[in-house]
Every structure is written in C-alpha cells, then in structure tokens.
C-alpha cells in the first residue's frame, strides 16, 4: 500500500509527465473558478446579492429570482428564472405577488381588504424567529428577518418500474399579522419548474356574532357564534417568457360535440384583447401564457399553464364588481397593480381589475388569478386556529422537449 502511494508521489513529483499533468490539471481548475457564473448575480443588475435568491438542486435544476418587500404587497418576486437540468436559463415571471386578500363576512360586514386596507408588509410583517424556520434559512431585509427559505425533499419526481427519482423544492415564506389573523404567505419552486403560490391562514378568529344564521357556535353552549366569512385571494403574475416580447395568453377547454358525453373535444382560444373569465371545472378550463418565438427541441412553443383549482366561488355585491370573474388577462401596465382599490394616477389607470379590462390589445399579458375559501369556523379554531392552506400551481407546458429530469 505505502509502496504504491510513494510510487504515485514519485510519478507526480519526479517525472516531466507527472509534473506537467499537475500544472495542466490545476490550470483547468483555475480557469473553471475564474469563468464560472457568479451564482449570486441577478439579471441586469436588478438586485444586489442580499435581495437575490439562487438555488441549485441536486439534479442541477436552478431557480434565480430577486425579492423586495413592499408595504401593500408584502414580498414581491421579480425576474423569476428557471433552468431545467442541463438546459437554458429562461425567465418566466417579470413580477409576481399577491394583489389583494379580500375578507367579507357573511353578515355583510365587515369587509376587509388586507392588502390595500392594511398592507401585508411594513409593520405587519413579522420579524421571524428560528422557531418560524426550522431546517431553513432566515433572510433579512436589513432590519428584520422577513423570509424563511427551506429546501426539502418533495417525494417522487417519477417512478417507472425500477426507474425512480426523488425531487426537491424550495419554499419561501413570510408571515403577516392582519387583524386577529396571521397570514403565512408562501411560494414554492420545485426542481421540475412548477411554481406554487400559497397562503396559510392561522392566528385567531376575528369576528363573532349572536345571530346563528351567520356563524357557528364556539365556546360552551349555543350563544356565541364565530362569524362565517370568505378569504378571496388574488395573485398578480406578470409573465415575461424569456423577454416581454412575443407572449400570448390562451384559454384551453373541452366540450362534448353534439351533446355526446362520451367525447371531449379540445378548444384553444387566444386572447388578443383583455379578458375576464370564470373558473369552469366542468369544462376543465385552463390557461397558459406561451411564447411562439421560443420553441423547445421538439419545435413546440414554450409556455406556462394555470389550471382551475377552485373549489369555492365568491360572487359579491355591486360594490365588488371584480368578484364577477375569477381570472383576468390584462395588458401589463405599471399603474394597474391591485385587484381592488388600485390608486388612480396616469392614463387609463382604473380602480380595480375588472375596470382594467377595457379592450386593450394584449401584447404583454398579466394574469390575475382569484381563489376563494369560505371559512365555516369550528370549535377547533379556538383559541389558536389550525393553519388552513390555499393555493394553486403554475406549471411548465412544453418548456422542455422531454421530462427534464436526468
């Protein structure tokens, strides 16, 4: 053993071939270190390393994004870029954030607007403690730890007989206090390119009533009713696949031809102008944003898809016209930022997302996705409410020619 080690040492130290291989080998290492992309550099100098999140999973997939805290929206993500294993890095979202959390009570009042009325950021944003982020990393905004980043196993990526792979996902969450509630606001980014925005509702119930028509009895007996209410969550997704140019929004749905329920025919409609639509689980309605100018190796345009994951639907009074629809596509405009109570300023800058839909041609689509949860309180919700989660998925469609997993 020791003889073979000394023979190797002699080769590398005493022969020209050995020494030359050391010099060339280390030269290659130096070149690799010097030329590797700076992993913390965001695109186009759009954010500094403190506000740039980069993660590379075990299979080589990579996410790169910038984040900012804003008073109303809470955490805003920008330049969300995904690199499938061994493939090209491409931007998906220019900007992604919550655009309102509307909480109307069945009593008719109160009707809270958590984002435009109180704000999810600023003093509402928790300074997270290590207990908020076990097995994760706390990320500071310079004043307090506002984000928790975790990278976790997500179970099977696939299985086909002996062919098995497990996947990973990165989650980023912040927590905002809104009245008696605590909102856990999260975004998960998986190694297969899926994005899942989600909200966890916890804390304490905020409103009680003595009218049994509008609540569920909590506490001893049947005198004190926790008020039933909705959480109408709106996300705003400004897609820029690759760049802002060339993106098209489409609706995909299925109908039975001539009433023949044994068949389903696919229909695809491009939105050339701004559009407001409702969820339609019966026709499997889904939407995608595609860029026909960028194709995968199969020659298919790259896209990201959003399916209908609605279980509850909310249609409000005339004072809440935007609740007539669940899904909007609007032309990207800087001043159209909130689903409701959008501050006016500038040309065509209207009050709410329904009013943003005013016949403009869509060349750079922004998607507004609404999800509703009707909360019927239960005894278990007192005193501290178990977390209930709600969200949806933004999934690659033809981003790569085959399953990107190695």
């Amino acid at each position: 053993m020791s003889r073979s080690v000394s023979r190797i040492a002699r080769f590398f130290w005493s022969t020209p071939q050995g020494l030359l291989s050391i010099v060339i080998g280390l030269g290659v290492v130096c070149a690799a270190v010097l030329t590797r992309p700076a992993s913390t550099a965001a695109q186009g100098g759009s954010c500094s390393p403190s506000f740039n999140i980069v993660v590379t999973f075990d299979n080589g997939a990579n996410w790169n994004l910038c984040w900012e805290e804003r008073t109303k929206e809470g955490i805003v993500f920008r330049f969300v870029t995904y690199t499938p294993p061994g493939e090209t890095a491409r931007q998906i979202l220019f900007r992604a954030n919550l655009a309102e959390v509307h909480v109307p009570y069945d009593l008719g009042t109160p009707r809270f607007f958590e984002l435009s009325g109180a704000g999810l950021g600023g003093t509402h944003l928790y300074d997270l403690a290590p207990d908020d982020c076990p097995n994760g990393t706390l990320i500071s905004n310079g004043v307090k730890d506002v984000l928790c980043q975790t990278i976790e196993d997500r179970g099977y990526a696939y299985k086909d007989y002996a062919l098995v792979a497990h996947g990973q996902e990165m989650s980023l969450h912040s927590v905002s206090t809104e009245g008696a509630y605590n909102y856990v606001i999260g975004w998960s980014f998986t190694d297969d390119g899926t994005i899942e925005p989600w909200l966890g509702f916890t804390g304490q119930l905020a409103v009680y009533t003595f009218d049994p028509s509008y609540g569920w009895p909590l506490g001893v007996g049947n005198t004190n009713y926790a008020a039933n209410h909705f959480h109408n969550i709106w996300w705003r997704l400004d897609f820029d696949l690759g760049t802002a140019a060339g993106d098209v929004a489409e609706e995909i749905e299925f109908t039975s031809p001539d009433g023949d329920a044994s068949k389903r025919v696919i229909g695809v409609t491009a939105y050339t102008v701004e559009t407001a639509r409702q969820h339609s689980p019966e026709t499997y309605r889904a939407w995608r944003v595609k860029d026909p100018t960028i194709t995968n190796a199969d020659g298919h345009p790259i896209s990201y898809e959003i399916g209908t994951e609605a279980n509850h639907i909310f249609r409000g009074p005339a004072t809440e016209p935007w609740t007539e629809y669940d899904f909007y596509v609007t032309q990207s405009r800087n001043c159209e930022r909130y689903a409701a109570h959008n501050p006016p300023g500038g040309v065509n800058c209207a009050d709410n997302v329904l009013a943003f839909v005013n016949g403009e041609t869509v060349s750079d689509p922004v998607v507004w996705y609404g999800a509703t949860f009707h909360h019927l309180p239960r005894d278990e919700d007192e005193d501290v409410m178990p977390v209930h989660h709600h969200g949806f998925h933004i999934v690659p469609r033809d981003w790569t020619a085959v399953n990107p997993f190695p």
Partner: protein, 242 residues
C-alpha cells in the same frame, strides 16, 4: 564573467506545479460561497428596497419641495404615510439602467389631500408631484395609536372598550399600550349600509376599523370606526345586541 546556473527542466516544472497549487488554493478560498449571504448594506441597486438612509433622503427632498409646502399650508395635521421604492415602467427596466427613485406620500387631514412625490435619489430632485382626494393608503403605526386615543376619549366607545377590557383581562385599562391594536381602512363605498351618518364621509376622510385585544390576545368584541380626519368615532360597532 559568472556562468549562468543551468536550471533543469524538471526543476522548472516543479516550480510551475507549486505556483499552480498556490494559485488554485487562493482562487478557491477567495471564491464567493452561495451559502454565505451578505447582510443588506446601505448600498442598494435596481429593485432593492430603499435603505434607511435612502428613505431619510427621499423624505427630506420631498418635504422641502414647493408642492409639499403648499400641501402642508397652515395645517398642523399632516402625516408621512409611506416612503418606498418607485415602481419603474417596464420599458425603463428593459433599458437595464435606471436611477434609484422613491415614492413619498404625505396626508393632510385638514384638506384630505394625499401628496405623492417621486424623488430621484442620486439627483436629489422631485421629478413628479401630484395631489389627490379619495385615495387612501394603509394606516401607519402612529395613526393606529392615534385612533385608539380617539376611541378611548369617546364617551360611549371608551366606556365599552374599558368594560370589555375588564371582562377579558380582569384588570382595569390604564394605558392604551395595554391594548393590542390592528387598524385597517374603512371606506363608506365598500359597505354602504355601514357607511351612513357621520361614517358616510369615510373614503374622502381617512377612517379606520380598530381591532382591539388584550396584550395576551383576548379579542374585545367591538370594531369601532374612527375618522382620523374629523378626529372622532363614527361608529361604536359593539357586537352585543346584534
């Protein structure tokens, strides 16, 4: 004349190998680590949120602008509501280079006018300014505290809050600081059946719902609406008797 000592090629190669070893070690050790996250400094770029120094600078530049002085007028009742990064247009961002700019918002309770100033930070100049009515931003911590003072000073609402506090905690309410407070905007247009009487002005006026709890978190079953412009409670809104 001294003879130049002859260096063997093997020695040269050995020297080169040692040099490369040292160079590699230096480069690898000095390379940035993805896991070591630098702490946010005052040096901010692009979409980074404003640093505390940038916020102070933006406020200072905005408040001495003639439009801000006119907005203030003779009023002693103005409030700095918000200073944050200006949201630039996409075309500006696509250019890859843009100056750091801040939005500064100031409210005048006497005129119910909101002032919005866009400050170019490197230039130290106000580049856009406008005033508007009926636009309300989320309440600040100072406004929440003031709304509680107004509610406690109100004969009806104050008595109910003290009574509910005593029931919930077994103690008398001494200081407003003993209450856990959350304030959120109230606009009459959002709830036409609630926004009647003195509450009808809410929206044009700056009004908040007050959610109150004991420091331990026991909710007080009242949701008063306070008009910060008129400095009065416009709805006591106790849940008993509904």
């Amino acid at each position: 004349m001294r003879a130049i000592p002859r260096i063997s090629p093997l020695l040269l190669l050995r020297l080169a190998a040692v040099f490369m070893l040292l160079l590699t070690a230096t480069l690898v050790l000095a390379a940035p680590r993805t896991e070591s996250r630098p702490s946010p400094s005052d040096l901010r770029i692009g979409f980074d949120p404003l640093s505390p120094a940038e916020q102070s600078r933006a406020q200072e530049v905005a408040l001495k602008h003639p439009a801000a002085l006119a907005h203030q007028g003779q009023s002693q009742r103005t409030e700095l509501l918000l200073v944050e990064t200006h949201e630039e247009d996409k075309a500006v961002i696509a250019s890859g280079d843009w100056p750091r700019r801040a939005d500064v918002y100031v409210y005048n309770y006497d005129t119910d006018e909101l002032l919005w100033a866009v400050v170019n930070l490197p230039a130290g100049a106000v580049e856009h300014v406008e005033t508007m009515h009926n636009v309300q931003l989320p309440p600040t911590a100072a406004e929440s505290a003031r709304a509680v003072q107004i509610a406690l000073a109100d004969a009806t609402a104050g008595a109910v809050i003290r009574d509910l506090y005593r029931q919930a905690s077994g103690r008398d309410l001494g200081q407003p600081g003993q209450l856990r407070v959350q304030a959120t905007l109230f606009r009459a247009a959002d709830e036409p059946e609630v926004g009647v009487g003195p509450a009808a002005a809410c929206g044009l006026h700056r009004c908040v719902y007050l959610m109150l709890a004991t420091a331990e978190g026991a909710l007080l079953r009242i949701l008063p609406i306070v008009d910060l412009s008129a400095s009065q409670v416009v709805l006591v809104n106790q849940w008993e008797g509904e």
